[in-house]
Symmetry: C2
Subunit: 217 residues, 2 copies
């Protein structure tokens, strides 16, 4: 049932190209002409396979984004399950790495963050997917693994704000790359992403009130 050619079926190519373009520009700034051209298929293909443009957008989240979010969570979980009681430092580092240096290509991670940031900034029908299938489970999981390493008196709401703050940094350093590059004067390359992970871990650990002094540099 495989196509003989290099690429997959048109439907898959459309999903791939649509995700790239939606992440870069957002829903309204992308045209179906653009997508079908990039996917090397016909203008009518989107309506045939997905009904309309909006449903294609949703399908990008269902078929691409949500599974990737799950892979990211699993990757974080796997990094941590090696240790039987992971330190807050290990937890934060696993999270930051997943978004900045993780198992995927930098382009893929950037795409993922951009789509997420777009939905959080201006929710569409896809927002429920983002909240229920990714943010919710991730926050819950993080709370569980962080809890044992934190001061007992830290309330749930405070822990949630702390986790959101870490997420804020992770997303920000992805979606605001141009601004970050301009302000720091540094290329957004491998070394810089590594530096960012280091920074986020340190800043967040201190932010959480469990910093290791600061002698590891």
């Amino acid at each position: 049932m495989r196509k003989k050619n290099k690429n997959e079926f048109p439907k898959e190519r459309i999903l791939n190209e649509a995700e790239v373009l939606f992440a870069q520009k957002g829903f309204h700034e992308v045209t179906v002409r653009e997508i079908t051209k990039a996917a090397k298929c016909n203008l009518a293909a989107i309506n045939y396979h997905f009904g309309n443009k909006e449903n294609l957008y949703l399908e990008v989240f269902r078929a691409r984004w949500v599974p990737r979010a799950r892979r990211i969570r699993e990757h974080v979980g796997k990094s941590l399950s090696a240790q039987d009681s992971p330190s807050p430092q290990a937890v934060i580092k696993a999270l930051a790495q997943a978004f900045l240096e993780g198992p995927m290509s930098d382009e893929e991670r950037k795409r993922h963050s951009q789509l997420m940031a777009r939905e959080m900034a201006r929710p569409t029908a896809a927002f429920d997917l983002v909240a229920e299938q990714a943010m919710g489970p991730l926050m819950k999981e993080l709370a569980e693994v962080l809890r044992p390493g934190l001061p007992d008196k830290m309330g749930e709401d405070r822990l949630m704000l702390n986790m959101l703050s870490v997420l804020a940094m992770v997303l920000y350093f992805n979606f605001a790359r141009v601004a970050v590059t301009r302000m720091t004067g540094r290329e957004y390359d491998h070394a810089f992403r590594r530096r960012l992970v280091e920074h986020i871990v340190e800043f967040s650990l201190n932010g959480l009130g469990v910093g290791e002094k600061e002698g590891d540099r």
Copy 2:
């Protein structure tokens, strides 16, 4: 030279409504028909006064956003000049308050953050204005007032990352309100904004490595 009516000149009304709509939806999702309707003037007015839609967008930044950014900076500066050598805590608090509880209405602050976040996520011709007239000067000023209260060994690049992280939180808690509300289960009301300022100050101070233990709650 004042118009007898409640509102200002059409040109001013267009700028006002355009800023609201651009902040809410972004450039491409807003139509000139929408703007002129909201501004209660004619469809042709935008082209007459601004030449075209894109130039109106730029003019919103030049005539509204940049002056407000300056007012915010001045407000931060004024909060700090009362003290002759402001503590890092005072600096961060002034910054967080400026964006979350500051001198303007909540709607105005939200609008300001949204426009800023949009340009940082996907720069247009207005990005240079944002970077040169607001972010740059703000970062520079913050660095100057923070520096005396920080450990000497903190390098410039590290300080910059720290300030960007604070900015990340401030912007995030503004532009991702829907997500924040969903995750925390709290209304985005006066009390919650107050709580957010408190959180950002604490998290950032610790993040900066100069936290006051944590006995102030």
